[in-house]
């Protein structure tokens, strides 16, 4: 496409600004105050001016920058590092990140834990949406199953933190299977809505089943222990405090530091597993299913089972994230598991690039750490997520970072 004339760009920008002004006029300009209103005419004008400028700049940029890219453009190439080098690098990275514990305050540890939990959720949902192409809008339901599984498991069965992690993975995976089974035979959009329905049902049941879940009041989740040692200043009867065993000074951040370290290891392992999946038969089958289900069936792949396995794997990862959430908060309530959380995790996966493992990590860290660094960002972050989701779908549906497909070298060459 040739360069567009500036005058036309100007005109289009003015038009966009005019529409913006009309649309934001009443909502931003007239603020409800009881049955009355106050005026704030500057706001719509500011927004319109912003649109005018952005639209004008966009019009001046070369068209090729703005052209959407729907397909992979990067050819796969032989990996640069050997597997053991990557594992070694991973270990070094883990130690580096783990040493942060020594410097970080309790507050930043908590932030770090939440960031890692979102990384985990992002990795889990990425398996379902990114690899298998199944839009799961009820992902938060599995997160809830994990969190409540831990809290209620402790309350009713006396389950500990370490037992809860694999059990939550199993339980959430089973939930994924059971919920997935009836819905996986339907096509994409319906699947999204049904999973949304299931997610909401889980939340509403947690909210309304007072006798079992404590309803909106929530349930306490126990603090994790390490080989039975507790991270408390004054342990309950019969308990052994961690700091005394190791002759350390007690600090209130110890518990968070411990959770952070364990979570970091879990994220590392999940990351390794998920990034290997793409080159493994099961991951390939998921991606093939995303591309063409009918062709898969003609090749003897059991499409229902394959989808179900993606669903279950994603759900298990979500369940594990739930356990860490409950353990770090010390408390779970249904408020934490609204549809909004699902949308947030979806935003992470979309921003990182569907199917891109490392992109998802970056997106999760960005979305959770940004509001901490930039306070102003916190108010607008949902707005920004929303715009980012739309723009990325239009402009780079495969994510900003282009990813390479696994490379397969001819044997013996």
């Amino acid at each position: 496409m040739s360069r567009r004339p500036v005058s036309r760009t100007m005109l289009l920008s003015l038009f966009a600004a005019l529409i913006t002004l009309i649309l934001t006029g009443p909502l931003s300009g007239l603020v409800l105050n009881g049955y009355d209103f106050t005026t704030r005419f500057a706001a719509p004008l500011q927004i319109a001016a912003m649109v005018l400028i952005l639209r004008f700049i966009a019009g001046l940029l070369p068209a090729s920058w703005l052209a959407p890219k729907q397909k992979h453009e990067v050819e796969p190439r032989a990996p640069r590092f050997k597997t053991y080098q990557l594992v070694l690098g991973g270990l070094v990275l883990y130690l580096a990140l783990a040493s942060l514990v020594l410097f970080a305050s309790k507050y930043w540890l908590a932030v770090g834990i939440m960031a890692l939990i979102y990384v985990l959720l992002g990795l889990g949902l990425n398996v379902v949406v990114g690899f298998a192409g199944l839009l799961d809008l009820g992902f938060v339901g599995f997160y809830a199953v994990g969190a409540y599984g831990y809290a209620l498991g402790h309350q009713y069965l006396g389950l500990g933190f370490w037992a809860a992690i694999p059990l939550a993975a199993l339980l959430a995976g089973m939930f994924g299977m059971i919920l997935g089974f009836p819905v996986l035979r339907m096509h994409g959009d319906y699947l999204a809505i049904v999973t949304l329905g299931f997610g909401e049902i889980i939340r509403l049941v947690l909210n309304n089943w007072m006798a079992f879940t404590g309803g909106p009041n929530g349930v306490d989740a126990p603090a994790p222990t390490f080989f039975g040692w507790e991270f408390k200043a004054n342990v309950t009867q019969g308990g052994v405090p961690f700091h005394e065993v190791w002759g350390l000074e007690y600090s209130s951040g110890m518990l968070d530091a411990f959770i952070f370290l364990v979570l970091l290891a879990v994220v590392g392992l999940t990351l390794y597993a998920v990034s290997r999946l793409r080159g493994m038969p099961i991951g390939r089958a998921w991606e093939a299913l995303r591309e063409d289900e009918i062709a898969c069936r003609s090749l003897g792949l059991n499409h229902v089972w394959t989808k179900l396995s993606a669903f279950a794997m994603g759900a298990s990862i979500g369940g594990v994230a739930g356990v860490f959430f409950a353990a770090s908060q010390g408390f779970v309530s249904p408020i934490s598991f609204s549809f909004f959380e699902s949308a947030l995790v979806l935003a992470i996966v979309v921003l990182g690039g569907l199917g891109s493992v490392y992109g998802v990590i970056l997106a999760a860290l960005f979305l959770t750490l940004m509001p901490e660094v930039l306070r102003e960002f916190a108010d607008y972050r949902i707005l920004i997520f929303g715009f980012a989701m739309v723009l990325i779908m239009i402009w780079r549906p495969r994510g900003i970072i282009q990813q390479r497909r696994p490379f397969f070298k001819r044997a013996g060459s």
């Binding site: 991606e287 069936r297 090749l299 003897g300 397969f408």
Partner: protein
């Protein structure tokens, strides 16, 4: 020569339309059989029945495999009848949940599609690896830990994939996206992919559509190789009559969902009913 595939009075209706009406035919083992007929004659519908995408409402489709006969229609499940007892009912229920198409493929029937269905965003070699999914080590743990058994199975699959890529002449493009291939290469890749499931029978749905004359010639060589070198039985739907006449051992002519003629290329060419079906008669 024994017949590998036998269709016994297959019927299929869509609402009031009779798409297939008591179609019976036999496909000899290690032969190339062509199904021809005017547009809308029910050829692709017949393919969909054989490959398990549609369930024939009446009749049986028997696949002969090492002394064992499989009814492909029964693989697709069906309505559960109480008289059959709980065990059979449960099996049908499970079939109903999963759909049975993949079971037909696993029993040795591969196919290609009229409107090419490659995994377009995946690489050429990945397309061939997916077809070998069933033959691979699918243990998750073995894959995560890259255990020797897993490595061996992946290496074997890769070797086979490259073997097929050499056969269809796409070795150099192994790691490019399948969607970026030329049309002719996509058609050949789809055939190679179907062959990678180790089928007894391969069903090619209009493999020459959209190919230029040179590619069509290459295709006819490839199809003959499938029979002679890889010993699969080929069932092909094709409109390109010169291709059909040059490669087929046997031809079945379909019109309005019924078999109107079958026999060797010579016999079919001479059949007046076939000429009428293609050129039209006074009845129309």
């Amino acid at each position: 020569m024994t017949s590998l595939l036998k269709l016994e009075a297959i019927s299929l209706r869509f609402g009031g339309i009779i798409a297939l009406n008591k179609v019976s035919l036999a496909v000899a083992e290690n032969s190339i059989t062509a199904i021809i007929g005017p547009n809308g004659a029910g050829k692709t519908t017949l393919f969909n029945c054989i490959t398990g995408f549609y369930r024939a409402q009446e009749g049986r489709i028997l696949l002969q495999k090492e002394q064992k006969q499989t009814d492909l229609v029964a693989l697709l499940g069906g309505s559960i009848k109480f008289s059959e007892g709980p065990l059979k009912g449960l099996r049908k229920f499970i079939y109903g949940l999963f759909g049975g198409t993949h079971l037909v493929a696993r029993s040795g029937v591969a196919r290609t599609f009229q409107n090419i269905r490659l995994f377009a965003e995946m690489t050429v070699v990945e397309n061939l690896l997916i077809a070998q999914h069933r033959q691979l080590n699918r243990n998750l743990l073995a894959g995560f830990l890259n255990l020797p058994g897993y490595r061996k199975s992946e290496a074997r699959a890769l070797a086979k994939a490259y073997e097929w890529l050499d056969i269809i002449g796409l070795g150099a493009l192994a790691n490019s996206p399948a969607g970026a291939l030329s049309y002719g290469n996509q058609r050949r890749l789809e055939i190679a992919r179907a062959m990678c499931i180790n089928p007894r029978l391969i069903c090619l749905d209009e493999p020459a559509a959209g190919l230029n004359p040179r590619e069509t010639d290459e295709l006819s060589v490839l199809i003959k190789r499938l029979r002679d070198e890889f010993h699969v039985t080929v069932l092909v739907i094709e409109h390109d009559m010169s291709l059909v006449m040059s490669i087929s051992d046997h031809i079945v002519v379909l019109n309005y969902g019924e078999v109107i003629a079958k026999g060797s290329p010579k016999e079919v060419q001479a059949d007046p009913r076939v000429l009428a079906a293609y050129l039209g008669t006074d009845e129309e």
